[in-house]
């Protein structure tokens, strides 16, 4: 294990986090809030710690998969630990557990909050909450790799350990160029949504915060009622569209833009399934709402579309209190919690790409039962999937479900009822945010004991880094020579 390089890399991550704290500082100064000094202090401390760690060690020697796993997992933990500083220094939270939970929820783009009243918070804190989403959405390490172009193969290892989905594609031969393009695409979409929301009448500050929450599929809002605060249907539709785009593969956005060919999306099997699932669930849910409520058709459709896409892409914004919906509606949303976005998106959970491979393989197994001597292999985008990939996905699915099951037991041991325990686990490991019952869209996670908050933070990390990257750290031989 090359500890020197690991510490050096973590140092760079801290420098990135520390410098990003300057942005909320600027908003704080702009609004003349009392808390600007808290950001200045956190920023300086974080940056100096990072600099010392980097200067004292330096990236040297061998850097392989092992080191990459360690750097990626640890960097999310220390980013959350240092990112919690502004909350503590401004007095937003009294306990470290709360501050850590909120930051981890931000970086992992979960959007689960322990705050009861958001609207009384100063602008700096609101902005920092949303900014953690935005940084974590495309990935801290992806940013790191984009900034430091000389990393070479070790950049590639870290990129793979962080990027979501079963396969990490390279758009450009060099990993740093790929990382840059992903960030440019991300920034481009961010600017687009912010402008549109602003033109539709949302104040610039709120437009930016909500854009961060949408693009990263996060879910932190600046309003207690989330997007429901805004009554304009247009704002809802715009956010629906951008949530949907953020749940799709960013590589596809880039390729479609570059080739000026919208069909790029449709040629991708994962995107087709993503769209199909979305439309299917929207139509069922809209039907349920039309029958059970006396809302207008447009309102029902909009609410169905918003909630389905919000949960499926693991954003977690809400325009309706789905706690009050009929059972069928709630169960549909619960199922969507286990789908998630596409590979290479900012969405969490199991991912459509894996569901696609599982479905294809299921069909193959059925065919094999009928034709025992047939040679069959599953294909995605007309390319055969290796059996290792299939195994990997099946194991992922199993571990995901197994951890969810075990975690429900732990949460109920902490006193949560079945629905709350189950959905709190599903909503954190899937990086969604709101669940049902006591953790529903109008509730929050503050009542959970500290142990539970740390545990759920761990689940968020597991979910964001897609299990393996974090879990290998618990294999004893990982740390041996």
């Amino acid at each position: 294990m090359n500890y020197r390089s690991i510490i050096a890399a973590l140092g760079v991550v801290l420098i990135i986090i520390g410098s990003s704290m300057i942005l909320p500082l600027l908003w704080s100064l702009y609004y003349g809030d009392y808390d600007w000094s808290a950001f200045l202090l956190s920023s300086i401390v974080t940056m100096i710690t990072g600099l010392i760690a980097y200067k004292a060690t330096g990236m040297k020697g061998e850097f392989r998969t092992k080191e990459a796993f360690a750097v990626v997992s640890l960097s999310w933990i220390i980013a959350s630990a240092f990112g919690a500083a502004p909350y503590l220094l401004t007095g937003t939270f009294a306990s470290f557990a709360d501050a850590f939970f909120e930051t981890m929820s931000g970086f992992t783009t979960t959007g689960a909050s322990v705050l009861t009243d958001i609207e009384i918070l100063p602008h700096g804190i609101l902005f920092w909450r949303s900014l953690t989403h935005w940084l974590g959405g495309m990935g801290i390490i992806v940013l790191f790799v984009a900034v430091l172009s000389s990393l070479g193969v070790c950049g590639l290892q870290m990129f793979r350990a962080e990027s979501p989905g079963p396969v990490a594609e390279k758009i450009k031969p060099r990993i740093s160029a790929t990382a840059k393009i992903l960030w440019y695409t991300y920034v481009g979409l961010t600017i687009a949504e912010t402008l549109i929301l602003w033109l539709l009448g949302m104040p610039l500050f709120d437009a930016l915060c909500h854009t961060f929450g949408t693009l990263a599929t996060g879910g932190f809002s600046t309003k207690n009622a989330s997007i429901g605060y805004y009554t304009s249907p247009m704002i809802h539709w715009v956010i629906i569209v951008f949530m949907f785009l953020s749940g799709a593969n960013f590589t596809l956005h880039y390729l479609a833009l570059k080739g000026r060919d919208i069909k790029t999306f449709w040629r991708n099997g994962e995107f087709r399934l993503y769209t199909t699932i979305t439309l299917l669930f929207i139509s069922i849910l809209a039907g349920v709402l039309i029958i059970s409520t006396n809302q207008s058709f447009e309102t029902s459709l909009r609410q169905a579309a918003f909630q389905v896409i919000s949960i499926m892409t693991t954003t977690g914004y809400a325009t309706a209190d789905f706690e009050l919906w009929p059972y069928l509606g709630k169960v549909l949303l619960l199922m969507l919690m286990f789908v998630g976005g596409c590979s290479g998106s900012t969405g969490g959970s199991i991912k459509v790409g894996r569901i696609l491979i599982l479905l294809k393989q299921a069909r193959i197994e059925l065919q094999r039962a009928l034709h025992p001597r047939a040679i069959l292999n599953a294909k995605v985008n007309n390319k055969p999937i290796s059996s290792e990939m299939v195994m990997n996905v099946q194991q992922f699915f199993f571990i995901y479900i197994a951890i969810t099951g075990a975690s429900v037991v732990i949460m109920s041991a902490l006193g949560l009822d079945l629905i709350s325990a189950f959905t709190s686990v599903a909503a954190t490991i899937g990086n969604i945010g709101p669940g049902l019952g006591k953790v529903g869209p109008t509730q929050n996670y503050s009542f959970i004991p500290d142990v539970g908050k740390y545990y759920l933070s761990f689940l968020m990390l597991l979910g964001r880094l897609e299990l393996y990257t974090v879990l290998v750290l618990f294999v004893p031989s990982f740390w041996k020579k």
Binding site: G152, V153, G155, L156, K170, K172, P173, R174, A177, S386
Partner: protein, 446 residues
């Protein structure tokens, strides 16, 4: 520059590794899934799985933006088709490895399948030329030239009876400029300082002016009489090319080939070479034809094991130097340790030749892999913008595992000291271990 490499064998891998270090964008096309994964894991490049002679695969690899295509698969025809296709996509330079000599032969009609290919590299021809160089300097395990041939790098073995053995480098009393850039001792390669000692059986890499080298060798005790009698085993393309080169240089050459028909062809094509028909492992034939008296015995069959065996036999019979072709270059160091003087890997040589072509006209003049890829010798032109230009060498924080060998300035060779300044236009040779080679490039390439 965007470079597409087709075929991820040993040649493709080494070219990809060196070019990515130089800052180029590399896409490799490889048909084998498992091999593709090995590359993906080890190099920061894009790998496309498929046949490189197919347009669909080439487009996937981004042929439209590529500046250079290097086709080095095992199959000549794929390499040729890929290059011709690449030209039609507007790729500026193409390189193909073509092994079959019939494709390469020029009948002066001006008609050739290669109209569009910029460099056709024939591994057999390259190998023959490299072996000929080593026969010209029989005591050297490897020979590389720099600065238009004025500077020579030799890989030499220090004999146990040599006077310089057990001496400190700084105490060597040699009145000509030279520098020992590396010592290989017990399989470990180290970059020596003045305080290091030369030991018997060390292998050294030494740089000096080509015209001084003989005199330096005399003082080092590594010189040897010029070779006269050369025997070649295996009359394939490499054997034929080698015999042809050697007979022009007035060596006495004998070539042994087991196929009668091939012997007839060789006998027709060669003028002063004695062509012998016989089996390689026939000790009586080797004895009666005087293999033991040969100054150099070269084994060029396609079978690594046979090359090893015959080399050992003739060494035992008394041949002064044995050179064996080795397809699996991982075995070279092992073979050299059991008594074969020089193991030659056609693949490493091919990679070197291609790299020289690619780097032409660039800040990087040449990159040569040494000692079974365990070290590299690089040649750079210092430009005004180079990080290293106009600075004293002692002020440059040069990475460990690398050393500046010579400076070639105004047709004069200098061995630099710490006070020396690198000036724009200087041609500098740098010896580097693979771990530092990428950082070295940063110092020179802008």
């Amino acid at each position: 520059m965007r470079v597409i490499i087709i075929g991820a064998g040993k040649i493709g891998f080494n070219i990809a590794r060196i070019l990515v270090e130089q800052g180029h964008d590399i896409v490799v096309i490889e048909k084998d899934d498992a091999r593709a994964r090995v590359l993906q894991e080890n190099l920061d490049i894009q790998v496309v799985v498929g046949n490189g002679a197919g347009t669909k695969v080439l487009v996937e690899a981004g042929i439209g933006e590529a500046n250079l295509l290097v086709a080095v698969t095992e199959v000549d025809e794929i390499n040729m088709i890929a290059c011709i296709l690449a030209k039609s996509y507007g790729v500026e330079k193409t390189v193909a490895r073509v092994r079959n000599y019939e494709y390469v032969q020029d009948d002066n009609s001006g008609k050739s399948a290669f109209a569009g290919i910029d460099l056709i590299i024939n591994p057999e021809l390259v190998t023959a030329r490299e072996i000929a160089k080593r026969i010209d300097v029989p005591e050297a395990l490897d020979v590389v030239y720099f600065g238009d041939g004025n500077i020579q790098l030799l890989e030499l073995k220090i004999m146990s009876e040599a006077v310089v053995a057990e001496k400190h480098l700084k105490d060597l009393n040699i009145p000509y400029p030279f520098i020992i850039v590396a010592i290989v001792r017990a399989g470990e390669m180290l970059i020596p300082h003045g305080d290091d000692k030369l030991m018997a059986n060390d292998i050294i890499f030494i740089l000096a002016k080509t015209k001084d080298m003989m005199k330096i060798e005399r003082l080092l005790g590594t010189e040897r009489k010029k070779a006269e009698r050369v025997m070649i085993l295996g009359g394939g393309f490499t054997g034929y090319h080698l015999a042809k080169i050697l007979e022009e240089r007035r060596y006495s050459v004998k070539i042994i080939e087991k196929e009668y028909k091939r012997c007839m062809d060789l006998s027709n094509a060669l003028n002063n070479t004695l062509v012998l028909h016989g089996d390689a492992a026939d000790i009586d034939l080797l004895k009666s034809e005087g293999a033991g008296d040969a100054d150099v015995f070269v084994c060029l069959t396609d079978d690594d094991k046979l090359n090893l065996l015959v080399s050992l036999i003739v060494k035992h019979l008394g041949a002064k130097k044995t050179i064996a072709q080795v397809r699996r270059s991982d075995y070279i160091s092992l073979m050299e340790s059991v008594g074969i003087d020089v193991g030659i890997s056609p693949r490493t040589l091919t990679a070197n030749a291609i790299l020289r072509f690619i780097n032409r006209g660039n800040n990087v003049v040449s990159v040569t892999l040494l000692s079974d890829d365990k070290a590299e010798m690089m040649e750079f032109i210092v430009s005004q913008q180079s990080k290293i230009a106009n600075k004293k060498l002692k002020d440059i924080n040069f990475p460990n595992g690398a050393i500046i060998g010579t400076i070639y300035r105004n047709n004069k060779m200098l061995i630099p000291k710490g006070e020396e300044c690198l000036k724009p236009g200087d041609v500098v040779t740098v010896f580097a271990l693979p771990k530092s080679s990428s950082r070295i490039i940063d110092y020179f390439v802008v």
